[in-house]
């Protein structure tokens, strides 16, 4: 599904008469991109597919891509350092939809495939480190990660023989430990 492109005038508030929750969320995303002057972008909605998409937790993922190289470059700023701005935007979108609609589902957001790439990197890293843990018998602690990234590590190694995972620490310092299976 495609979210319509920029109107001539800047939006002043979300259109609360949107047909459904997906329309409301997608329309807001389009409004915010327009307000940021990021008009040359395409927004599509799709089913979540992987743990990183939040499969099982979220209703639909919005993919945002630039229509050309310039627009793609500009979207980098909206991803932010380690995806921080992307997650902020997703949080605002879901908070607003949740306030306006009863029992609204949660939506995901990816920009220029950032989350997909990050997920692949985390999956590869988890498998490599699991191999090391199996070979050495040592416990290896990963760098601190946000909850949805730790979830990717846990789910990746759930089915790997010879290792198990645990989270330690709290808040921003919460880290995954990869341990030899007992």
């Amino acid at each position: 599904m495609r979210i319509p492109d920029a109107p001539d005038e800047l939006p002043t508030a979300p259109r609360l008469d949107a047909a459904d929750d997906l329309d409301l969320a997608g329309g807001m995303l389009r409004d915010i991109l327009n307000l940021l002057g990021l008009q040359g972008t395409e927004i599509t909605a799709r089913d979540p597919e992987t743990p990183g998409d939040g499969a099982g937790l979220i209703a639909q993922v919005f993919d945002v891509y630039g229509e050309d190289d310039v627009a793609s470059d500009e979207l980098g700023l909206l991803i932010g350092r380690r995806g921080e701005t992307l997650y902020h935007l997703q949080y605002l979108m879901n908070t607003i939809v949740g306030q306006r609609r009863e029992n609204a589902p949660v939506f995901g957001l990816d920009i220029e495939g950032y989350r997909r790439r990050r997920e692949q990197m985390l999956v590869d890293m988890a498998r490599e480190i699991a191999e090391e843990v199996r070979a050495s018998g040592d416990v290896i602690t990963l760098e601190p990660m946000p909850a949805h990234e730790r979830r990717i590590i846990h789910l990746t190694l759930e089915t790997e023989a010879g290792v198990r995972t645990e989270s330690v620490g709290s808040g921003e310092n919460r880290q995954v430990e990869i341990l030899p299976a007992e």
């Binding site: 939006p11 940021l36 700023l77 605002l92 607003i96």
Partner: protein, 75 residues
């Protein structure tokens, strides 16, 4: 920048008509002052300031694109 913050604050507020954003320029710095209905303060700031932080994060994007520095004060 002001339009962005107005939009987000109206979207979060129960009283969108009470949202006012003032803009002050100081060289390449832009100061935004957001006023909302008292009942909406919590909603606009969010749990642990998460909505305020998210708005500041998007404001930063707008500011970088415009080549200025911008700060948001919630009054």
């Amino acid at each position: 920048m002001r339009a962005l913050i107005e939009y987000l604050a109206r979207a979060l507020a129960e009283h969108p008509d009470d949202v006012v954003v003032e803009e002050e320029h100081d060289g390449d710095r832009i100061l935004l002052y957001l006023y909302v209905n008292d009942e909406d303060k919590g909603r606009v700031i969010g749990r642990d300031g998460r909505c305020a932080n998210a708005m500041r994060s998007l404001l930063h994007v707008a500011a970088v694109r415009a080549g200025v520095r911008a700060t948001l004060n919630i009054e």
